[in-house]
Amino acid sequence: MIALLGRDMRLAVRAGGGFGLGLAFFLIVVTLVPFGVGPQSALLARIAPGILWLGALLACLLSLDRIFALDWEDGSLDLLATSPLPLEAAVSIKALAHWLTSAVPLIVAAPLFALLLSLPQAGYVPLVASLALGTPALGVIGTFGAALTVGLKRGGLLLSLLVLPLYVPTLIFGAEMARRGTEGLDTTTPMLMLAGISFGVIAVLPFASAAVLRVNLR
């Protein structure tokens, strides 16, 4: 298990800078928004929590197909499936590695990006908290999507299509929690929902992912 985690992290770091790149993508999405929407900081501040959540979601999404596709292409997945490691564990570990390499850097850097979008001071803590609570769900759901599409040649777009609707509840509660926090309102309900989604998903989805993966392998 630790071997797999170590290998995946190492691969992510070596394959042209795993950590930095998700971050860079997030930075770029956040930078592009004002170009599209206009530079007025009042407007930006209003949409900031939503855009930050969207940016994190997209940065996460873009790296999803790495989770299994490479292992599929070079045959490692067949070999892993015939190894002593239960596929459920392998799937969970791959989700964890993905979260560590793509989401954690985002969470750490989120305040900086919030600055660029002129998010009010009060919003920083709820934003980071909501990301920390919500991104594990994004990772696990994304792993499920990646397992579903692994056999397909360049399933990237299909993967996005399948996963994005599954992301909707997480996004709604996450952005809501960040927005309420920013406006000084009570964040308990969205926070509880977010935590509920994350834990539920972590407990259940790996089994579905492993089952789906087995089907795709045969």
Binding site: A3, R7, L79, T82, S83, P84
Partner: protein, 205 residues
């Protein structure tokens, strides 16, 4: 330890390709599957290794006993040869990769990134993985593709060592591996018959 396969039927892409295959391989034996391209050797081996369900018959050994090497080697280009092997040694909890490196003369290449290997060197790494699994049944699909004569010799020696240690091996190949003691099974007679055209339900199998 014996691998017995009884009346096995296998399908690929939903189409039966082989039917009624039976054989037994006991410890210390090698069985080589032969047959023209497309007869279904790869499909059969994947089924035996537990990667896909058979459409009939049974395989008398649980998949935990088997180590499978496919057409593709599952090598990570950015990891070094050593890191690649160590990963599998960890997964199979066997620890030491020294014997595997020795068996395929990979010591000199151990610290090279695997992406920079030539086709035959990659293949050697793929085969070294089998040694590292420590499992008794080797299921090998065209193991000597791209290997030069000397490396084929290394492979034969590795197989013999595996057999001597009580293991057994099942492999598909078109070329001569220098394993004279091996039994050969020709798959030609087991080709699945085309379906009777009015067997409507059968077409859903």
């Amino acid at each position: 330890m014996e691998l017995t396969v009884r009346d096995l039927g296998v399908a690929r892409g939903g189409v039966p390709v082989l039917e009624g295959v039976s054989f037994a391989v006991s410890a210390g034996e090698v069985l080589i599957l032969r047959g023209p391209n497309g007869i279904g050797k790869t499909t059969l081996l994947r089924t035996v290794a537990g990667l896909q369900p058979p459409i009939g018959g049974r395989i008398g050994l649980e998949r935990e006993a088997m180590a499978y090497a496919a057409h593709a080697d599952g090598i990570k280009a950015t990891l070094s040869v050593r890191e690649n092997l160590e990963f599998w040694a960890d997964v199979f909890a066997t620890g030491d990769i020294g014997p595997a490196l020795d068996a395929f003369e990979l010591d000199a290449l151990a610290d090279r990134p695997a992406g920079g290997l030539s086709a035959g060197q990659k293949r050697r790494l793929g085969l070294a993985r089998m040694v590292v699994t420590g499992r008794p049944v080797w299921v090998l699909d065209e193991p000597t593709v791209s290997l030069d004569v000397q490396a084929v010799g290394l492979f034969a020696a590795a197989v013999r060592a595996h057999l001597a240690g009580g293991g057994l091996a099942l492999m598909a190949t078109h070329i001569d591996l220098g394993l004279e003691e091996a039994r050969v099974l020709d798959l030609g007679p087991y080709r699945a018959r085309a379906l009777a055209p009015d067997d409507f339900d059968g077409a859903f199998l």
